[in-house]
């Protein structure tokens, strides 16, 4: 992004949605400023943050006068502006396939993982509550169903959208980081190609850098 002013990302790096955007910024080598938003203090529902995002979610993103929210929308913008090939927008067929697997990540993998991490981390650590194991079990079944689809797909292609890595793959990394750190990590053992695919992505410099930011946040 050259000599323009740095873009800003608002939110804690440990939020998987924030981390998703950071991975994209690292992939295109953009300079950015991470502005912390303190969720436990309710800063995301305060007037300054609501002015940016209307729904009080993280991340918010600012590039000059442009303010965006919703991590996958921000990610697309960052990748396009950085002339990245992670969206494959030079090909109608490839970009559509990337879109399909990005939607699949959002509605299947992320939804199940969000419920699991909420119960296993957020409820006991930030809300003083107890994990609802029924919810965890229900969502583990949904996660396994998704992993089964991925395993089949990855027997035929190197990555989800084809033999090229794309945003559809990288969008999984933040949640995968928490999965690998959790007691549920062994769920991946039954899906060897998925495990290799995850390990490969976790080895990327951009992903490593963001995982460090997540852990330090």
């Amino acid at each position: 992004m050259g000599t323009e002013a740095k873009v800003k990302v608002f939110g804690p790096a440990r939020s998987t949605c924030v981390a998703r955007v950071l991975v994209c910024l690292e992939e295109v080598g953009a300079e950015y400023e991470l502005v912390h938003v303190h969720l436990p203090a309710g800063e995301h529902k305060g007037p300054a943050h609501l002015a940016r995002t209307l729904f009080g979610q993280v991340p918010a993103f600012q590039d000059g006068d442009l303010i965006l929210f919703e991590s996958r929308a921000i990610s697309r913008y960052v990748l396009r502006k950085g002339a990245s090939d992670l969206l494959r927008e030079n090909s109608l067929a490839e970009s559509a396939t990337v879109d399909a697997w990005l939607e699949a990540e959002s509605h299947n993998f992320d939804r199940a993982m969000s419920a699991i991490t909420f119960q296993c981390f957020v409820v006991p650590m930030f809300m003083g509550g107890t994990t609802d194991h029924k919810i965890v079990e229900e969502n583990m079944e949904k996660l396994k169903a998704a992993l089964g689809v991925y395993e089949e797909r990855l027997t035929r292609f190197k990555y989800l959208a084809g033999d090229f890595i794309s945003l559809a793959d990288l969008s999984h990394c933040p949640m995968a980081h928490y999965l690998l750190a959790s007691p549920c990590a062994s769920v991946l053992d039954a899906y060897p190609r998925v495990k290799d695919w995850v390990d490969g992505m976790m080895d990327r410099p951009s992903v490593k850098k963001v995982m460090e930011l997540m852990d330090a946040s």
Binding site: E70, R72, A73, R76, D99
Partner: protein, 222 residues
């Protein structure tokens, strides 16, 4: 070239999303039914098209796609004619396209989770499974929906359409579930948000929407 194929039923919300985009760009298509009751969505043939065994699936020549929003984007990119509107905002520059993406995500991540349980409990589960409406789920969803609609009301006070001054893919994505919501006993909720109501009526007046509506029921017997 032969018409594209959409696998699923015209009454399905996510199929309707795709049909709406086909109608917007005036592309020819063939609707191929998938027999859920016979388990056709779990057959190898269908799973090859939609690995999660859902509808819609889509075929254009050699390309097979799943996920209605991804299919819709592809249709709007490939089949857009000079005369049809730039619903993805991609010719307007990175910022316009980004705003369309933002509000498309908002529909998926905020609006849909609030409104869809009402549609599932009041229409889909009773019709498809003979199930009774879970009023607790409905009430909780309506509470969430009120908050979302309040935010939409604010947005539409500053912007003619969700993503900006022009009608876009973001607005269009709200059609399927809102259509069925208006067939539940809770339709009057929209009257509490006048700008949202006006935006909805504007959407319903589009020729493409009228054509898709014609194949979607508004009265249900259960």
């Amino acid at each position: 070239s032969s018409p594209v194929k959409v696998f699923g039923h015209a009454t399905s919300t996510n199929v309707a999303r795709v049909l709406l985009c086909l109608e917007e760009v005036g592309a020819e298509y063939e609707l191929v039914p998938v027999d859920f009751l016979a388990g056709e969505h779990n057959t190898p043939e269908h799973v090859q098209r939609n690995p999660f065994g859902k509808i819609p699936a889509f075929q254009d020549g050699d390309l097979v796609l799943f996920e209605s929003r991804a299919i819709a984007r592809y249709i709007l990119r490939k089949y857009r004619t000079p005369g049809s509107p730039d619903l993805l905002g991609e010719n307007g520059g990175a910022e316009e396209a980004a705003m369309v993406d933002v509000w498309t995500e908002v529909e998926a991540q905020q609006y849909h989770p609030a409104i869809s349980p009402v549609v599932f409990e009041c229409i889909i589960f009773p019709v498809m499974r003979g199930a009774k409406t879970d009023q607790k789920v409905v009430d909780e969803s309506l509470e969430r929906l009120r908050l979302v609609l309040g935010t939409y009301e604010e947005r539409l006070s500053k912007s003619r359409y969700l993503a900006g001054d022009s009608f876009s893919f973001a607005d269009l994505n709200h059609f399927p579930f809102t259509f069925y919501f208006m067939a539940t006993p809770y339709a009057a909720l929209l009257d509490e948000y006048p700008r949202v109501k006006a935006w909805w009526e504007d959407l319903m007046a589009r020729p493409s929407v009228k054509r898709v509506c014609a194949n979607m029921p508004t009265k249900f017997c259960f």
